[in-house]
């Protein structure tokens, strides 16, 4: 018997699938029944089918440290994670509420600065954020939206409550893997789809194209939308090309673009062609060598001028990363109250600011109990997981925080929920998180579910694929 659910270890953690020995949570009951019908060789067959599908479909990602291997196979665990629609509705509302507030905030940062004048958030925090761009001051954008595409990371605590871990407002990635996970799962476990009405994800590329088209300058109909990629060596190149393909947009590199009289053109076989909207997957600082990093070959000279004049739209807008800062994150509940006069539907993880005296003292004295994160890193780099860290690591972070408190926040270690993952010794619980994607311009859209990322090692909390994490197809179902 492959799935020995009565031996499935349940600790003091919320498991997404199993509620008590041998019993599934309501949304996963039919899943368990289906899985139990599979013989050992069936399971093996399905695993092989999944591997083959991923290989032929060419679903891959890049790890920078992995020299020479620029496309590694995407790791997928075939057991889907199932969430009830009822529960999801609340999350959906919470995410839209959150992004609405965040966009009002970013717009406020670069325009009226009301929230600072009203002393809800200290202005120095924003001006000191590496994501703040003085070049964006005074810019007004269609629908006042700056972060058009957001990937917000959610976790569940020991009681199963969804909490926001962070908002990724710069160039969040992973959505292509969410879509491809679904495609593979359909091939591998087709019969499971007969037992469930799974909310489809097919609409994402359309929604993305709608969002991008809606922000075109002069409200142009059928605007020329392009995806700007740093090129094939970027870790998310697969996704860039996938999204361009799904939207029927050109995938351009910086060298494909030129600026003439503050307008953006791309070099085509029929000469130059005007570009209206750029879905950029290049970091702010590489967008325009005239304004930012002058050595950058990834962007195009004069792009910021074209953007400031309103001749081209950029998503996410330059400067949107100011709200991506983990210190700013701690203020999001206050933003929601301030701009929308509502209580947050989704809570933050309790957080300590190392720049505040009292909180700083608490952090320094309790590092062994806390998770410390740099305010502006992504991909899980530069973190300290106190309870799992050595003495010397803790000392190293003490020094780092003393030196630059503004750059760190600390959070209690939340025992991320687990989900069964197929290992060589049967199904075992592994920690997971969830990244839904939120689109915003004149409308809002939230992907039903999102990308579930899995820490493949026992007890590990590191879910980033760049650090060996895996993934799961995520289902939102009516139960």
């Amino acid at each position: 018997m492959q799935f020995n659910w009565d031996k499935y270890p349940l600790e003091n953690i919320f498991d997404e699938t199993i509620s008590s020995p041998s019993n599934a949570r309501a949304p996963s009951r039919k899943l368990l029944k289906n899985l139990n019908r599979l013989s050992e060789s069936d399971v093996k067959e399905r695993l092989e089918a999944s591997d083959t599908a991923i290989k032929t479909m060419g679903i891959s990602f890049t790890v920078y440290s992995d020299s020479g291997n620029i496309d590694r196979q995407w790791p997928l665990d075939i057991i889907p994670r199932i969430i009830s629609n009822k529960e999801w509705q609340r999350v959906d509302l919470g995410l839209v509420q959150r992004l609405t507030a965040l966009n009002l905030f970013i717009n406020d940062v670069y325009n009226d600065k009301k929230i600072f004048k009203d002393k809800v958030i200290p202005l120095e925090l924003v001006l000191g954020s590496p994501g703040y761009r003085k070049e964006c001051e005074g810019v007004s954008l269609p629908f006042n939206t700056w972060a058009h595409i957001c990937g917000t990371d959610l976790i569940r605590d020991a009681k199963g409550k969804f909490l926001v871990l962070e908002d990724n407002l710069r160039i969040p990635s992973g959505v292509s893997y969410m879509l491809e996970n679904r495609r593979v799962t359909k091939r591998v476990l087709p019969e499971l789809f007969e037992s469930y009405d799974v909310q489809h994800l097919r609409d994402y590329p359309n929604q993305l194209l709608d969002t991008l088209s809606s922000i075109a300058p002069m409200k142009k109909k059928n605007p020329e939308v392009v995806v700007l990629t740093p090129g094939i060596f970027n870790s998310a190149y697969f996704e860039h090309s996938y999204l361009a393909q799904q939207m029927g947009a050109e995938l351009v590199e910086g060298s494909d673009l030129v600026i003439d009289k503050d307008k953006v053109y791309m070099k085509t076989v029929a000469g130059l062609r005007k570009v209206d909207v750029i879905y950029r997957r290049v970091d702010d600082l590489y967008l325009d060598p005239e304004v930012f990093n002058e050595d950058s070959l990834l962007g195009v000279k004069g792009l910021m001028r074209a953007w400031r004049k309103g001749n081209v739209s950029i998503a996410n807008a330059p400067g949107a990363g100011v709200a991506d800062d983990k210190v700013i994150y701690t203020y999001v509940p206050k933003m929601i109250k301030y701009y929308l006069d509502e209580d947050p539907i989704l809570d933050n993880v309790e957080s300590y600011l190392c720049s505040e005296r009292q909180q700083y003292n608490y952090v320094i004295n309790n590092l062994h109990n806390l998770v410390v994160k740099p305010a502006n890193e992504s991909g899980g780099y530069g973190m300290l997981i106190g309870p799992q860290a050595s003495k010397s690591e803790i000392n190293k972070f003490k020094k780092l925080i003393k030196k630059n408190g503004r750059n760190y926040i600390a959070q209690p270690l939340i025992s991320l929920s687990t989900c069964p993952v197929i290992t060589s010794s049967g199904a075992k619980p592994r920690h997971i998180d969830l990244r839904p994607f939120i689109l915003q311009s004149n409308n809002s859209y939230v992907t039903p579910g999102g990308l579930t990322r899995v820490a493949m090692k026992k007890g590990s909390y590191v879910v980033n694929s760049s650090q060996g994490g895996g993934s799961k197809d995520t289902w939102v179902v009516d139960t």
């Binding site: 032929t56 060419g58 050109e250 995938l251 590199e253 085509t268 076989v269």
Partner: protein, 314 residues
């Protein structure tokens, strides 16, 4: 469409065609050897001659034995025209133009590449050579079929068709040339070079036809005993057979005329076509024919140069 993307698609098609053609000539040459008397002076080196890469080969290998030549043509990563290298570069170009290609096409290229990687050892030894190379040929053909059945006949498709047909025309002329070289009874031939007794001429030409999958079509078209002059004429001048040089040039011309500012290159192609029509290939397989073929290949290179200058070097 972007110039950079057009460039990649053009080469994607060329690489796929080259991988297929190399697989074909290896299979046919292997077959030919079984038909010829032992001790005949046909050699594996012919394959190096056809691919026009003797210089590189000599840098890498010391003898022209079967195994070295197979390794060089099939799997050697130092030979940019080896089957594996071609498939790898085709895959890389497909990976970087996925937004343009129908999804199944990327999957097919990817799959063909993986099959080749896993199977490659088999192709070097004699036992499984035919099967493993045949798989690659089918993989490439399937791709061409998929493209023709699923891709809009837009500029992207035209660039791929040009690349494919130019590569095909080039290989066609190389094979004709190989036939010529084998029958030049010229005393300038050194011992190193192959020479086949006249008696076996039809067998050689039949094999050339077979390597282009042209044997049956030729039979239906030319109802005479296979002979060199007829085969050369057919492979150069036939309008209907997809791997005949004239047919390839027609296709290239058609695509060029559709592309923005392609007309002047199309006119160059027209000129090449005219000189093929005028060529007196009815007379003899001789040195003149070899020179004519040489000239054709130079003109193909010029077409490639013009395409580069017109669309890719923006």
């Amino acid at each position: 469409m972007l110039s950079r993307v057009a460039h990649r698609l053009y080469w994607l098609a060329r690489y796929i065609e080259r991988a297929e053609n190399t697989s074909r000539i290896i299979n046919v040459n292997s077959n030919l050897l079984f038909d010829l008397p032992t001790g005949s002076r046909v050699s594996w080196k012919t394959l190096i001659d056809i691919t026009g890469s003797e210089e590189l080969y000599k840098q890498l290998y010391s003898t022209f034995d079967e195994r070295s030549i197979m390794k060089y043509l099939i799997s050697d990563s130092r030979n940019p025209s080896s089957i594996i290298c071609c498939l790898q570069m085709a895959r890389e170009n497909a990976r970087t133009t996925r937004e343009i290609l129908p999804a199944e096409c990327w999957e097919k290229i990817n799959e063909t590449y993986h099959i080749a990687i896993e199977d490659i050892a088999g192709g070097i030894g004699r036992k499984n050579r035919y099967e493993s190379l045949q798989k690659i040929i089918y993989g490439c053909q399937l791709l061409v079929g998929l493209l023709s059945g699923t891709m809009s006949n837009n500029a992207a498709y035209d660039f791929m068709r040009i690349g494919r047909n130019l590569e095909r025309a080039d290989m066609g002329t190389r094979l004709i040339d190989m036939g010529c070289m084998n029958f030049l009874t010229d005393s300038s031939l050194t011992d190193d070079e192959s020479h086949i007794p006249d008696l076996y001429q039809p067998i050689l030409w039949m094999n050339i036809l077979i390597s282009l999958s042209a044997f049956q079509m030729y039979r239906q078209h030319v109802r005479e005993r296979v002979n060199g002059i007829d085969v050369v004429n057919y492979l150069l001048k036939d309008n209907d057979f997809p791997r005949a040089v004239m047919h390839c040039l027609n296709q290239i011309q058609e695509c060029l005329e559709k592309l923005p500012d392609g007309i002047h290159i199309a006119m160059e192609v027209e000129k090449i076509k005219r000189s093929i029509t005028r060529a007196k290939t009815k007379v003899n397989i001789d040195k003149k024919l070899h020179e004519f073929i040489d000239d054709l290949q130079i003109r193909f290179i010029k077409i490639d140069d013009n395409i580069n200058a017109q669309w890719f070097l923006v």
